[in-house]
Amino acid sequence: MSVQALTLTLRLAVLVSLILMAIGLPMGYWLAISRRRWKFVIEAIVALPIVLPPTVLGFYVLVAIGPLSPVGRWYHAITGGSLAFTFRGLVVGSVLYSLPFAVQPIAAAFSSVDQTLLHASATLGASRWRTFWRIVFPLGIPGVLTGFVLSFAHTLGEFGVVLMIGGNIPGATQTVSIWIYDQVQSLDYASANQMAGLLLLVCFVILIALYGLRRNRKWGAWGWQ
């Protein structure tokens, strides 16, 4: 079992899900309340990582952050380094890859908040900002929680994107799933089994906790339904 790969993976997953919360909350709110005609295009783009093969996504991200692309050159000019084959590059790729798993449940939860409550909030003088934090967010918390947990779990288990962007550098870009792949390649099934079992357990516990909480809420444990 590689503790290094494990801590790196956890660090990546925590960081990515936090970043996705920062992106997912405003984006989910916008998707929930916007009446723009072209909203469906944004929805399609957000959903793209679900259907796209990870290698395809990884390939384009790699090209986009590579030293020849504008993004890569810009990043180099600022930091003097490169995103490709680094932990930061991995974060960028994972954020894109897990985006729908954060945004979709959040947007669904926010749009299920009764519109009249938003109208009532406005007639009581509240700004959109206040309406969001006092009404939409608290009522949408189950969806926000789902988005956080799903993007966390999804980042834990990703393989193709990580391989394309990060390669396989222990301590920098070698995540658990790639480490397992390595063990299998070198026919060390026992180590692979340990790590795979651990990952299975972690994901299962996370989902059990999530669905347990949602059930509780339905039964009124959160007090307002």
Partner: protein, 383 residues
């Protein structure tokens, strides 16, 4: 009465005093056929006190409220409250909802389910200092009798209490006008009247124009000082409830006002000296004497009669002042709440409302021959 803006179809009198001034034009989808549109074109002013906006569903009542609150945008027009322009297509003004200071009580009340009663009430007082906020929420909770509920959530209180909380929440912000969208349709009459009494007491001190939307005629009589009748986007009547609903001259008002019998009639003769005219119910030869009304004799008119205004006799009545005595027979009797509705065939079908006691003492039953007695002035000629 100090009432302004009787303008139904004409121009609004220029009036810049306090109150709510509304002039809205907006195209709306037809509720019965969404591919068709009809035009909402309403113009009225209301002063402090209760004004009822009355009309069938789909007439555009809620749209008017939404436009006043800024939740919908008129195609054109002008809305102002207490001399502040909230919307003006000419001046290009469209104040956002949150800055309009218009209280709105939604049909569903829209209490915030995750906040306590206290936090619901204080929601609109974010700009007010803490002490002042507490003082005002205590005061309004006292006025509406909900001081004991402040720490409960909306799910844990009764429907009438939720109503009071929603009113308190809207009024604690001291709005320039209060809009109520059929808020009490789910409440029983006594709960409703107690809440309305509290609202009246509150409003005697604060003198806010209250626009109350409903399609229930009992509420019109019970609540309104003045009623505006909206029909397919247009105001067709304006006045005190008993004037508008007591002497309906429009079929739509007749139905809203509870005219169970509306007949198409042909005028046979007029008697200007008596103030009456005689007509015959179309497709029958039942004559009716009705009040004289300036009509084109070639065209059929509509006559509305309340089921409760018709008398029933089991032998032919004589020496009566009532001019209409019509023979017929009972088709059916059915109980409706505490009254009995009789369907009577006289050549035309009449609905008659009776008390169960009258029904028993006359031994009424289906097939029994009877006479209907109608005063001339119980027959309302509709435009």
């Amino acid at each position: 009465m100090g009432r302004m803006g009787v303008a139904v179809n004409g121009a609004l009198p220029v009036n810049s005093s306090a109150g709510l001034h509304v002039e809205i034009r907006k195209r709306l989808a037809d509720p019965s056929d969404s591919s068709r549109e009809f035009a909402l074109a309403a113009q009225f002013s209301i002063a402090a006190g209760f004004t009822i906006l009355f009309g069938a569903s789909g007439a555009g009542k809620t749209t008017i409220l939404d436009c006043i609150a800024g939740l919908q945008r008129p195609d054109a027009g002008q809305i102002s409250a207490n001399e502040q322009v909230l919307f003006s297509s000419k001046q290009g003004v469209d104040v956002p909802t949150r800055k309009r200071q218009v209280g709105y009580l939604f049909q569903t009340l829209a209490l915030f389910p995750h906040l306590t009663v206290r936090h619901n009430i204080e929601y609109g007082l974010a700009q007010v200092g803490r002490d002042e906020r507490e003082r005002r929420s205590q005061e309004i909770a006292g006025s509406f009798g909900i001081s004991g509920l402040l720490d409960r959530r909306p799910a844990a209180i009764s429907g009438g209490e939720r109503q009071r909380v929603a009113l308190a929440r809207a009024l604690v912000t001291r709005p320039k006008a209060l809009l109520l969208d059929e808020p009490m349709s789910a409440l029983d009459a006594s709960t409703k009247s107690r809440i309305v009494d509290d609202l009246r007491v509150w409003n005697e001190r604060h003198a806010v124009p209250v626009l109350y939307v409903t399609h229930q005629r009992e509420e019109v009589y019970a609540l309104g000082d003045r009623v505006l009748v909206l029909e397919r986007g247009r105001l067709v009547a304006d006045g005190a409830p008993h004037e508008v609903l007591g002497r309906p001259q429009l079929e739509s008002i007749a139905q809203l006002a509870g005219m169970e019998n509306v007949f198409e009639c042909l005028v046979r003769s007029t008697r200007p000296d008596q103030g009456t005219m005689t007509c015959v119910i179309a497709d029958s030869n039942v004559p009716l004497e009705v009040p004289l009304y300036r009509v084109d004799a070639a065209h059929p008119i509509k006559v509305g009669i309340r089921a409760g205004d018709i008398l029933v006799a089991t032998s032919q009545p004589r020496e009566l002042s009532a001019r209409n005595v019509i023979a017929g027979s009972i088709l059916s009797l059915r109980q409706q709440d505490v009254t009995v509705i009789a369907e009577v065939d006289c050549g035309a079908r009449f609905l008659v409302r009776l008390t169960p006691g009258a029904c028993r003492s006359l031994a009424l039953e289906a097939g029994k021959p009877i006479w209907l007695v109608l005063k001339t002035y119980s027959c309302h000629v509709l435009q």
